[in-house]
Amino acid sequence: MYGRKVKLRFFFIFLILLILSFTVFLILKSLEENVVYFQSPTEVKTLAEIDDKKIRIGGMVKSKSVLIENKEIKFIVTDFKNEINVIYAGIIPNLFAEGKGVVAEGFLKDKSLFFATKILAKHDENYMPPEVKEALKEE
């Protein structure tokens, strides 16, 4: 019914659509798996269950809470309502200090203990991670 050329073209368009939808699927799937959510200590407290997905938490480093040892550093992140203990082994950004804002990436052990794998660098002393600003504003 249709000529060979037309059939070929249909096949070609079909192939492109197939590849395109496969790509979109791949990207969305990967996005879903690799997205990291941000939570404040208060939001962590209201979590229904704790899974082993990587998350970010943010707030202020509670004053007089930083404890340094050879292998790791421990501190408390607070949003002035709730607190989380953080244990971290790794490089600490220059501007990390008590009473300043911080964002930590890692895994929740339970609702009050967080194993951080990364503490995010900030760029100047006035800078407050937008998430923290938001979290602090909500009170």
Partner: protein
């Protein structure tokens, strides 16, 4: 005084724009030849912008704190070099630099395009003036670099110390030459589309601009990356940070365009594709400016969070996109060579396939960068997309991409049979065995990594061999592709063999892991111009025989009061030894990171090779003409 001159020059510059537009429209309609007055006014406009820029530089050098921009970003104790580079180390000044490059490029374009048709030149100028006016108004209205403060402050607030660095001082101008160079491509493509002017001759002429922007964009990204490596102290060169991504996106589009222009020049094919790519390159550049300037992305580039600025660029951007889409859909008549058929195994197909891969990489980066922004606007949920997302989606597709890149240039136009198949297969086997040898002793995903390294080596060997058989013929292309293979290989080997030790140590303590012992021998303190510094002394003993002393620094800047870590890096041909330290909470412990990173220098060198390939191609064209 300098500020005053600078400001009025800006007004005059904007005024020249309207004169240019008036003259151009007049000249476009009549049948006379190109009006010399247009060129005069274009050079006048360039002159005004240069004066304005020099005015700002003088204000910075003289530390004229009656100027708000200077007050916010400078300080009397700052070295003169950083006073000057501070000119574009802030929002207002960097936009003035944008404008400077915009006007400079259109001026050079007019001079260099004399053999093109009058209407095409004038229309390109008109489109460029639309962009220039947009930036003039943006600058004067929302981000005037010459705002006056009274009473005049005695001292400025200082430049962010991490910007006080040689690589970062020249990073913005170089990057801007690339970004803004794409504006000429954009204007000229729109002009050529509206006039039905797209031809092989046009392609040959615009290719020079594509090459120039591409070289500068590549170098600009390289500089930023080197800076991030040694200054931020994270021990990497690319973090898939949105700010980096917005510079990578125009680069991907521009690289694709560069390859398409080649086909257009030789075969008059893919005209629509070229138009779309030209438009996207400039749009992505503008988009990058919008994202980093609006405060949506938080980074060292975000100088001020002013929603008005973001909104202005966004509206301007939409107008430009709308204009270009209108021209593309309503005025574009395909010039493609209709009788032209090419066989599936040909150079055209291979370039097309690689273009598709590039577009795929581009969409991955685009989605990864934009999705979090949109999600936050729509649902207020805050997310971030990190390296795993990009690695997972990009790395597997590098394999066919690299193979196509290795085989593609071997093919002929239209239809081709692979010549010397035997050699190609032998090289493939060698690459495979070599990567097998490398991956065998690591505990990585065996299959994927072996194939990945194989494809890298394959491209490496094939391009290396081409240096000998082809000689000077197609040297530029071969050099760029060779550079790319070296780039990929260095990154892969760097990822596979990097190792690091992170620990907290007191002075006099030592730390041992595997074969390496770190001795913290002591610190000394020094006071320099605008900062105090603490220099640590670490002796690294490798039980395989070598010994190294590394001295990372901790700088405490006085204005603004910021602490930065300066990494100490010992570079040799095959490995970088990288060390940073940080003092936590003024206790006795120093937070120390020691990294061994193989082939770092080859990553930088290979990018230089890639841009050298571009430069060579540019010079080649000169000789031909």
């Amino acid at each position: 005084m300098a500020s005053l001159i600078g400001f009025y020059s800006l007004i005059f510059g904007l005024f020249s724009s309207s004169v240019i537009i008036f003259l151009s429209i007049l000249n476009f309609r009549n049948t006379n030849s190109f009006d010399k007055k247009i060129l005069t006014f274009t050079s006048l406009q360039l002159f005004f912008v240069i004066v304005s820029f020099l005015g700002l530089i003088f204000s910075f050098i003289n530390s004229d704190f009656s100027n708000e921009t200077v007050y916010n970003h400078s300080h009397t104790t700052k070295p003169i070099f950083y006073k000057i580079s501070g000119t574009w180390g802030n929002h207002e000044g960097s936009l003035l630099l944008w404008l400077l490059v915009l006007t400079l490029f259109i001026f050079v374009f007019l001079i260099k395009s004399k053999e093109q048709s009058k209407q095409y030149r004038i229309l390109t100028l008109l489109f460029q003036q639309v962009i220039i006016i947009g930036f003039f108004i943006f600058l004067i209205k929302t981000s005037n670099p010459f705002n006056y403060i009274f009473p005049v402050p005695k001292e400025g607030l200082g430049l962010n110390p991490i910007l006080q660095d040689p690589a970062l001082a020249i990073h913005p101008p170089i990057l801007y030459l690339g970004y803004v160079g794409s504006s000429i491509i954009f204007s000229s493509t729109l002009a050529a589309t509206s006039l039905n002017y797209i031809s092989k001759k046009w392609a040959a002429h615009i290719k020079i601009w594509v090459l120039i922007s591409w070289i500068f964009l590549t170098l600009g990204i390289l500089l930023g990356s080197i800076w991030a490596y040694y200054e931020l102290g994270w021990g990497g060169f690319w973090f898939w940070d949105p700010v980096e991504n917005v510079s990578l996106m125009p680069w991907l589009a521009l690289t694709t365009l560069l390859h398409c222009i080649l086909i257009l020049e030789k075969k008059l094919l893919f005209t629509s594709w070229v138009i779309i790519l030209s438009i996207s390159t400039f749009t992505l550049s503008m988009c990058g400016t919008f994202l980093v300037r609006s405060g949506i992305l938080n980074s060292v580039h975000t100088f001020a969070n002013d929603p008005e600025r973001g909104l202005y660029i966004l509206i301007f951007l939409f107008c430009l996109i709308f204009l270009s889409l209108f021209i593309f859909f309503f005025l574009h008549k395909s010039q493609d060579n209709k009788d032209y058929n090419f066989f599936w195994l040909s150079k055209e197909t291979s370039i097309l396939i690689n273009n598709w891969f590039m577009m795929y990489f581009l969409s991955v980066v685009l989605i990864g960068t934009m999705y979090p922004i949109f999600l936050e606007v729509i649902t207020t949920e805050k997310i971030s997309v990190g390296p795993p997302f990009y690695n997972k989606l990009i790395i597997p597709f590098l394999i066919p991409f690299l193979f196509a890149m290795a085989i593609g240039p071997k093919l002929k136009w239209i239809k081709s049979n692979l010549q010397d198949k035997m050699n190609l297969i032998i090289l493939l086997i060698i690459s495979f065995l070599l990567s097998l040898l490398i991956i065998k002793n690591t505990n990585l995903n065996f299959l994927l990594n072996t194939i990945l390294v194989t494809s890298g080596f394959y491209l490496f060997f094939i391009t290396l061999r081409d240096f000998f058989i082809k000689g000077f013929n197609k040297l530029s292309q071969n050099l760029a592709h060779f550079g790319f293979s070296l780039f990929i290989l260095s990154i892969l080997l760097n990822n596979i063999f990097s190792s690091e030790i992170i620990t907290n140590l007191k002075i006099g303590e030592k730390f041992q892991k595997d074969n390496i012992e770190i001795n913290f021998e002591g610190v000394k303190k020094k006071s320099i111009n605008n900062y105090d510094t603490i220099i640590g002394k670490f002796k690294i003993i490798d039980f395989n025989g070598s010994e190294e002393v590394l001295e990372p620094e901790l700088r405490i800047y006085n204005q603004p009061n910021i602490v930065t870590s300066e990494a100490d890096i010992k570079t040799d041909l095959f490995t970088d030894k990288f060390m940073t330290m940080n003092l936590v909470q003024n206790e006795d412990y120093f937070n120390i990171r020691y990294q061994v990173k193989p082939f770092m220098i080859w990553i930088w060198l290979s990018v230089l090779l890639i841009s050298l390939g571009g430069l060579l191609s540019l010079l080649n064209r000169r000789n031909e003409n």
